[in-house]
């Protein structure tokens, strides 16, 4: 076995039996992972524990002060952080089901061999490639209080009144949610279209023989067969929705009364407008932790569902 290199110890062997081999395969990823994931998190924790100034040599250690003020009722940090976090959660809770339902709906409609199917698929997918600033400006114009297209139409219709979307708490979410839906639903739709094409026709034939109607066919054949894609779209849409920034920034600038400001917008404001990097870092850590918990919960929920589907 060791005939060719009798003196070479195990760690210096130049073949696959070297015990270092598995680690060497992991090394390229580990280097990137350490530099771009582990180090920034560690550095973020360091920043959040200091009164950190980008250009100063000495950083004052303040311990958990910035975390404490996030949990001190009445401090502006606590007020706006939790308010914007709740805003963001509201956005997620509304948009994620819509993004999934509309995507399935569109995919089902375009699954049938109707006339112009390719054209419509392209049309629904097209907004996905737009930059958020363009999409935002477009929907801001559409929903503008006085001169927006929606209000001009509402004004012309009998019995309907114009709605000051951009300055009314509550209504201000409408342009953001409609815009987001229009902007991103095409991507999920393509995923569902591909998944639908993979459902064997035999299942439907069998279901029909058993007397299943259209709803029963969807409930017992289509929906379970789409579960893997649903898990994927639910997780990716949730994460993307939690990162809400550009839509609110462009359409409502977070207003009125900070009611559409997302937590990412507030953290950015704290860091780059107020130049409170440490406080912003502490908020990022708390937000990251919250996101982690939500993701774990979501994964468990959905994995349990697939487990059931496999029974």
């Amino acid at each position: 076995m060791t005939l060719s290199h009798p003196k070479r110890p195990a760690l210096l062997r130049l073949d696959d039996r070297n015990p270092l081999v598995p680690y060497l395969y992991l090394l390229p990823h580990a280097v990137l992972f350490l530099i771009f994931i582990v180090f920034p998190i560690g550095f973020g924790i360091f920043v959040s524990l200091h009164r950190w100034n980008l250009l100063s040599d000495q950083q004052v250690f303040v311990g958990l002060d910035h975390y404490r003020s996030l949990f001190t009722p009445g401090s502006p940090e606590a007020r706006f952080f939790w308010k914007t976090l709740l805003n963001t959660i509201l956005f997620v809770v509304i948009t994620v089901p819509l993004l999934i339902a509309c995507a399935i709906g569109l995919a089902l409609l375009l699954h049938k061999p109707i006339w112009g199917r390719g054209f419509f698929r392209t049309v629904f997918f097209l907004p996905t490639i737009l930059a958020v600033s363009i999409m935002g400006l477009l929907w801001k114009w559409m929903f503008e209080n006085g001169s927006g297209l929606i209000n001009v139409i509402l004004d012309q219709l009998p019995l309907l009144d114009t709605v000051p979307f951009l300055t009314t708490v509550g209504w201000a979410w409408v342009p953001i949610i409609v815009g987001t839906l229009w902007w991103t639903v095409g991507f999920n739709m393509v995923l569902y279209s591909a998944a639908l094409a993979a459902v064997p026709q035999a299942y439907y034939d069998a279901a029909q023989l058993d007397g299943a109607g259209r709803w029963a066919q969807f409930r017992h054949v289509t929906w379970p067969m789409l579960t893997p894609v649903t898990i994927f779209t639910a997780v990716t849409s949730t994460i993307a929705s939690f990162q809400l920034f550009g839509q609110s920034h462009v359409i409502t600038a977070g207003g009125p009364l900070r009611s559409t400001q997302s937590v990412m917008m507030y953290i950015t404001e704290e860091a780059f407008t107020n130049f409170q990097f440490s406080s912003a870092a502490a908020m990022s850590m708390v937000f990251g932790l919250a996101l982690l918990l939500i993701s774990v919960f979501q994964f468990r929920l959905l994995l349990r569902d697939t487990g059931r589907g496999a029974d």
């Binding site: 009164r51 100034n53 980008l54 250009l55 100063s56 401090s75 502006p76 801001k140 503008e144 209080n145 006085g146 001169s147 000051p164 951009l166 300055t167 009314t168 708490v169 600038a253 207003g255 009125p256 009364l257 900070r258 404001e269 780059f272 407008t273 107020n274 130049f275 409170q276 440490s278 406080s279």
Partner: protein
Amino acid sequence: MVQGITRNARLALLMVVGLVCGTVAFSQVQIDYWHGFTGPDLPVMEGLVAEFNETHPDIEVTPQAIPWGNLFQQIEPSVAAGRAPDVVAVNEDVITGFIMRGALAQITPEELSSHEIDAERFYESLWNIGTVDGAVYGVPIHSVMLVMYYNKSLFEEAGLDPENPPQDREAFLAAARALTVDSAGRHPGDEGFDHDDLAQWAVGVPTPWMGGTIAYSVAAQNGVTFVGPASEDYAVNFNSEGGKEAVQFLVDLVDEHQVSPANATEQSEIDAFRQGKAAMNFNGVWMLTQYQNQDGLDFGVAPLPNLGTGDYKVWGGASYLVMPMQRRGDPEEREAALTFISWMTQAEQNLKWTAGGSLPTQPAVADHPDYQEHPMTAVRDALPDTYILAGFPFVAQLRAAWDAGFEAALLGDKSVDQALDDAAAEASARIEDGLQSLPPRD
């Protein structure tokens, strides 16, 4: 073979010598210049930089236009990384913060005099904002102000003198009533006047940021200084009687006087003014070109009326050319940067810059014969009365709180009292944070 190598080596040597000689002969100092003039003033700025490069063959300025918000985010990281540009344009609300956090280099008195950058040339209120404790960090390049645009045709129809727009509260309210008409032709105060069905109105009071800027001006006219001096830790005072009176007056324009539509936004008011629905529009001097390009809009520009109860004041802003700290200071580049800053801020260049919508930074330009044809000469006399929120490192926090307070009062979310007291408490807490996080100054 050996000969071949020698010949190649000789050739290479020649090329290197040639390159070195060439660089020495045409040695040009390269400097980077970042600015945020991305609107209609962009071509004017690029034209000025091109002119500088043509007239200064030994310096090559590479300009880069970055939207203000992004630009400000990049300054400190670029300084920390040792890759800061040589010259940057920054605004009045952030310059003091950058100075106090150590991001900007001081321009020494020797450098000021050797490059002919004289404080006396500029409006004093503008110049002072570029300094901290007498040390100079920035030179004014750009000046803006809140003004009143008004529709001359609508003024005439309402029987008002289109050459004599209102300039105090009483005249303004009288004109505003005459200019506000519902779809049945009734004016505010008339029997059956329908505020929800306006065919034409005087002026909209929008929500932040523009609404906050208008309210800021009226509060300043009521004598509000917003914060106390540094010695009093910048104690917030905008929730004083004067501040509340100003906000109440603007809220009343909508609810009480009914000369403003409810739920105005800055954009809806711009659109309404362009369509001839709003007779007046309070906005910055930078809107001039947009309104000039509107077909069939016969409008005038006047100072924002004195809607307050005290001396005339109005919101103003300014931009400054500054030099970020360099990790390895290159004296040649610093010289070139100073030459550029000096040239750009001279009267001749400032006069050209006003074509992009800026106001003069210095009396010599305001009084220049060529400037007298400019539509903005109407507001020139108000220039010394601009009340610029600057000179301390938390303008952003203070303005955010003020704007939020005004918005809460205007939208009826809180009473004026409550809204401004809450906003002042918020601003005080933020200023306390800001004071704590400032590095000690030596």
